[in-house]
């Protein structure tokens, strides 16, 4: 051991084909013990197939799945130390909450007192003690979700799979459950493998996000990495709102990339990626990273523009600013409603920190 966290799951070069359709294409990654990993992507990107392969519900066409050092590729779901929270919760309707939670423990051959102890402990932990003798149809959506979580945690799995478990909850409850889930994950120290198409959910809860598209990994990193330093156009557009700027590289200077955009010279950052001079590239600039000024600021990265629309959105105001004649030369900026009011004239200057303008790899 080198003091690093242990690998709990190794997805070893896994490919899954359904007929001629490639659902997952040579996925190779390690998941560390205690991590909250989210697989994020649009429907059909292969995230659910990956989850189902980890659960044992699909067999990889190629590659291996190694769980805690043991190759489980060909093991059926009932033999794996992996449990799952299903999208529709899949609670057994004819069993009470207590019986649902005990189910996995019974099948593991635990003794009656042990089952009782563990079940009571989990119901307490998830604030479900009062619901022990109710059946699932007597519970609210949020309670059902917690029962599903308790049931999956009961056998003490090495990996917990969560398949869009918040999809069925209303927006208000979802926010609350996100915090709860993150908290439960921290307190249990379990490895969570979460699958969602909701970028906000992913950003809120995860230690690490894997963005998938068309069966391949687009980017794998922390929520901050993905948000501020997207590597591809897909990631930049999929997570949050952004301005995409098409320019030509003039040169690279230390960490800065100098772009020609509409004849203007602007500065961005490659974050380790160094494009060659003359290359046509796309760069991403988050809406909240655009600063607006009444007068020309003392900043290298300042461009003059004209406000073409101004939309009040409550906590913030969104400004569309035209800085050139080309199609892509409208920059959208988010501002404090108060600050936006200070912008008196339609003519203004915008600027940004060079490291906030991320030059994308493709």
């Amino acid at each position: 051991m080198t003091g690093e966290k242990d690998t709990i799951v190794h997805i070893d070069n896994v490919t899954k084909r359904f007929g001629s359709v490639v659902a997952v294409d040579q996925l190779d990654m390690k998941i560390m013990a205690g991590e909250f990993v989210t697989f994020l992507g649009p429907s059909g990107c292969g995230k659910s197939t990956t989850l189902r392969m980890l659960g044992g519900f699909e067999n990889p066409t190629e590659g291996r799945i190694v769980l805690d050092g043991v190759d489980v590729t060909s093991q059926p779901p009932n033999r794996r130390d992996v449990n799952m929270v299903f999208q529709d919760y899949a609670l057994f309707p004819h069993m009470t909450v207590g019986q649902n939670v005990s189910f996995g423990l019974e099948l593991k051959g635990k003794s009656r007192p042990e089952i009782e102890r563990r079940m009571t402990e989990l119901l307490d932990f998830l604030q479900l003690s009062g619901f022990r003798d109710r059946t699932p149809d007597q519970l609210s959506g949020g309670q059902r979700q917690r029962v599903a979580l308790a049931r999956a945690l009961a056998p003490d799995p090495k990996l917990l799979l969560l398949d869009e478990p918040l999809g069925a909850l209303d927006a208000k409850l979802r926010g609350q459950v996100q915090i709860e889930l993150k908290d439960i994950q921290k307190r249990t120290g379990k490895t969570f493998f979460f699958v969602t198409h909701d970028q906000e959910e992913a950003l809120t809860m995860s230690d690490r996000i894997v963005v998938m598209n068309a069966g391949r990994v687009e980017q794998d990193g922390t929520p901050e990495d993905l948000y501020f330093r997207p590597e591809s156009r897909f990631v930049a557009e999929f997570i949050g709102e952004t301005n995409l700027i098409n320019g030509t590289v003039r040169g690279v200077e230390d960490s800065a990339v100098i772009l020609d955009w509409n004849g203007l010279s602007i500065r961005g950052s490659g974050h380790g990626h160094r494009p060659a001079a003359g290359e046509n590239v796309t760069a991403s600039l988050r809406l909240e990273n655009v600063n607006c000024h009444n007068k020309k600021p003392a900043n290298q990265n300042a461009v003059e523009g004209r406000v073409v629309s101004k939309l009040f959105k409550g906590s913030r105001t969104s400004l569309d600013i035209r800085v050139g004649e080309r199609e892509d030369s409208v920059i959208r900026a988010y501002m404090d409603a108060g600050k936006a009011a200070e912008i008196a004239d339609d003519q203004l200057w915008i600027s940004w920190e060079p490291e906030r303008l991320t030059v994308l790899r493709d």
């Binding site: 044992g56 059926p76 009932n78 299903f86 529709d88 899949a90 309707p93 099948l107 999956a152």
Partner: protein
């Protein structure tokens, strides 16, 4: 809907109700008539016919015989029908439509044809006419109904239920008995009651496949031939009330179970 069609519809409806219930009401009424002859006018009333039925050991033993056949048929039909439904279940495979059609065929073959065929077959494989042969005949006829009802219910079970059971450590057999079978309970109760009634009510198959011991419908038929007596009305009324109670109870408990899931 115009006013006139509404009136017409309700007239037709009530005419149907009258047509349905008047014969039943007549039959029940005649069972209380203090005379050997069926028909109006009724001069005096009596419960004697019911007393006769209850004391008639032949009627009682035939009733028991019919019940035994019905219960055995139901158990066999439920087991085989459920097996067929699960086997045909959600998976697609070659020849599924043919197997399904074959399994359903006994439900649509005319009773008289299948009765004669079964009689010949029973003789061929040396099964004595009697209880066992009748049970086999009824089971063949009932299995399609069970299979259809169970398949309908099975198709509403979310796939994730079975996956969740597998995920929590159940192999496919344990998952079936602990998760799928309880889910099928309302369908099994409904199909079971239906089997009981079908078997209890059957005349043609029982007549062809039976031995010396008659089933209740066969006994009533025999009694009819020796002359209509209010005793038959009394027997029929008892059967009517029992089956109505059974049917209503089944309907109620199915609705309750369906709501619970």
């Amino acid at each position: 809907m115009t006013r006139n069609t509404r009136i017409l519809m309700s007239v037709i409806y009530w005419a149907f109700i009258v047509y349905l219930f008047v014969p039943l009401a007549l039959m029940v009424t005649m069972g209380f008539k203090d005379s050997k002859f069926i028909g109006f006018p009724i001069r005096s009333w009596t419960l004697d016919w019911y007393a006769t039925v209850i004391q008639d050991t032949e009627v009682l033993s035939v009733f028991g015989y019919s019940m035994t056949i019905a219960i055995a048929t139901t158990i066999l039909s439920l087991i085989i029908g459920t097996w067929v439904a699960v086997f045909l279940g959600p998976n697609q495979f070659r020849g599924k439509a043919i197997i399904f059609a074959l399994a359903c065929l006994p439900a649509v073959i005319p009773g008289i044809i299948s009765a004669i065929a079964l009689r010949i077959f029973a003789r061929l494989i040396d099964i004595e006419p009697g209880m066992f042969a009748i049970i086999l005949g009824h089971t063949v006829h009932n299995v399609p109904f069970v299979a259809l009802v169970v398949m309908a219910r099975l198709s509403t079970q979310p796939k994730s239920h079975i996956e969740a059971a597998r995920d929590l450590g159940a192999d496919s057999i344990v998952a079936f008995f602990r998760v799928t079978l309880p889910y099928l309970k309302p369908a099994l109760i409904g199909a079971g009651i239906f089997c009981m009634l079908l078997s209890f009510d059957d005349f043609v198959r029982a007549f062809f496949l039976g031995g010396y011991q008659p089933t209740l419908p066969v006994l009533i038929f025999a009694k009819l031939r020796s002359g209509m007596s209010p005793e038959i009305n009394a027997i029929s009324t008892i059967v009517l009330i029992m089956t109505a109670i059974l049917g209503l109870w089944a309907e109620r408990s199915m609705r309750r179970l369906n709501k619970g899931s």
